[in-house]
């Protein structure tokens, strides 16, 4: 009986999802003072609002690794379907992975049904995936698009809960952006007013929160048409460019070259059997 059970345990293939085998080792290491590896986060502002003809999404372009900016111009507005885009905040790898995966699933679904994708489909696929991973997938998303039922805008939290709202902000700069939205938003905005408001909200995050910076990306989605305005605003040019430039010394100087040939230690014997397969 015991022998059979041990065999069965050895034969079961590893299931999908995260493996928590190393958690105890990690805890032991952190107790000894070893710092855990850092990962790249997008300390971010992502926003979305519904205007009279559709949805406008906005995002900043800075990715940080702790206190250092690792990407000054990254893309946080991800493509999901021709009529649906998704902004991602949190761990950069997680947001990219989850949006790419759901985007592929939507494409297959479009082939299967022969119809344009709906925003609620993307929403359900994303929230099921994030809930399955119990919040370990650190992705906070703002999903927006226009489908057969009109314009939609949703926020999705890392644990899998969702909200459906006319205006949405996520990320470390969400409070700064929401403050701007709450003071200036009204129903029935025109496209120009909407883009302006989105840019103002992102800029308030850019200048007041250290995790956010660089440029503003905007995406406008209306019935049957989308405009992806990459780097719509560049409010942060480099302040000082040296006119003369700098010279860099050529290479490390060679001080001494000494070649010591090693003695042969291997004896080569003639004959011997050929290697077996």
């Amino acid at each position: 009986m015991e022998f059979k059970m041990a065999q069965a345990a050895a034969e079961v293939p590893p299931k999908g999802g995260f493996s928590f085998d190393l958690c105890r080792r990690n805890e032991m290491l952190s107790n000894k003072g070893v710092p855990p590896p850092s990962f790249r986060k997008t300390g971010t502002t992502i926003v979305g609002l519904i205007f009279q003809d559709g949805v406008i999404l906005g995002a900043d372009t800075r990715a940080t690794e702790g206190p250092i900016v690792c990407d000054k111009n990254c893309e946080k507005i991800h493509y999901m379907a021709p009529n649906i885009y998704c902004c991602g905040a949190g761990t950069a790898a997680d947001t990219k992975a989850v949006t790419d995966m759901v985007s592929s699933q939507l494409q297959l679904h479009r082939y299967h049904t022969g119809r344009e994708s709906r925003v609620v489909t993307a929403l359900t696929l994303l929230k099921y995936h994030l809930f399955n991973y119990q919040g370990y997938f650190q992705a906070a998303l703002v999903l927006g698009g226009v489908d057969a039922n009109g314009p939609h805008l949703h926020t999705i939290y890392p644990h899998g809960s969702t909200d459906t709202l006319p205006l949405a902000t996520m990320g470390s700069g969400s409070l700064a952006a929401m403050a701007v939205f709450e003071s200036k938003y009204h129903e029935g905005l025109t496209k120009a007013e909407g883009i302006n408001l989105v840019c103002e909200a992102i800029c308030s995050g850019i200048f007041n929160d250290l995790g956010i910076g660089s440029n503003v990306d905007v995406c406008v989605i209306t019935k049957g048409h989308k405009e992806y305005l990459r780097n719509h605003q560049l409010p942060n040019p480099r302040t000082y460019v040296n006119s003369k430039g700098f010279s860099f010394p050529k290479k490390t100087e060679v001080l001494l070259t000494r070649v010591t040939p090693l003695e042969e230690k291997v004896e080569v014997i003639e004959g011997g059997d050929a290697m077996e397969e």
């Binding site: 250092i68 850019i206 200048f207 250290l210 910076g213 302040t239 000082y240 700098f246 860099f248």
Partner: protein, 223 residues
Amino acid sequence: MTKQQANWSPYDNNGGSCVAVAGADYCVVAADTRMSSGYNILTRDYSKICKLADKCVMASSGFQADVKALQKLLAARHLIYQHQHNKQMSCPAMAQLLSNTLYYKRFFPYYSFNVLGGLDSEGKGCVFTYDAVGSYEKVGYSSQGSGSTLIMPFLDNQLKSPSPLLLPALDAVTPLSESEAVDLVKTVFASATERDIYTGDKLEIVILNAEGIRREYMELRKD
């Protein structure tokens, strides 16, 4: 039973970077003016540079409350010195005083990363660099603070003398002219601001030479 951890820290890091470069007859000390806490900006216009004596200027990054206390203490000690000796403290003397003051609080340190810049008694530029507990060294240039890991390698590349095995060791001071040194400092801060979130807003540059002390400002990225 794991050791009980403190749930409150007496320190905070207000960020920022400082740089000092010494020349044959001048010294340039610079720091950004951003004061932050966590991801928030507390103010865009806070000076980290303090004039300790006629020919001696200190720039400090770290916990600004400790920096302020340290500056007050040094100013008081300098006043006593002036009463006792009837003259201003020279830069090397102030350097030693700062080191002793920092080590005095060895077991509850000032969270302050300092660079001291000035002219010695012969009028030549000198820069002293410190750690939080007072270990110091006279150098030709130095940087401290959150952006120092980005700034120091560039200064080493441009200002460091080549290997002492090849040539006799060059003098610590840089062969650059005063305007070239100021230009270098501006470039270095513009670059550090691009990649360090705690550095930015405005750059304050203090230049000491035989004529006296001069201050310059330059705008930096505010994001």
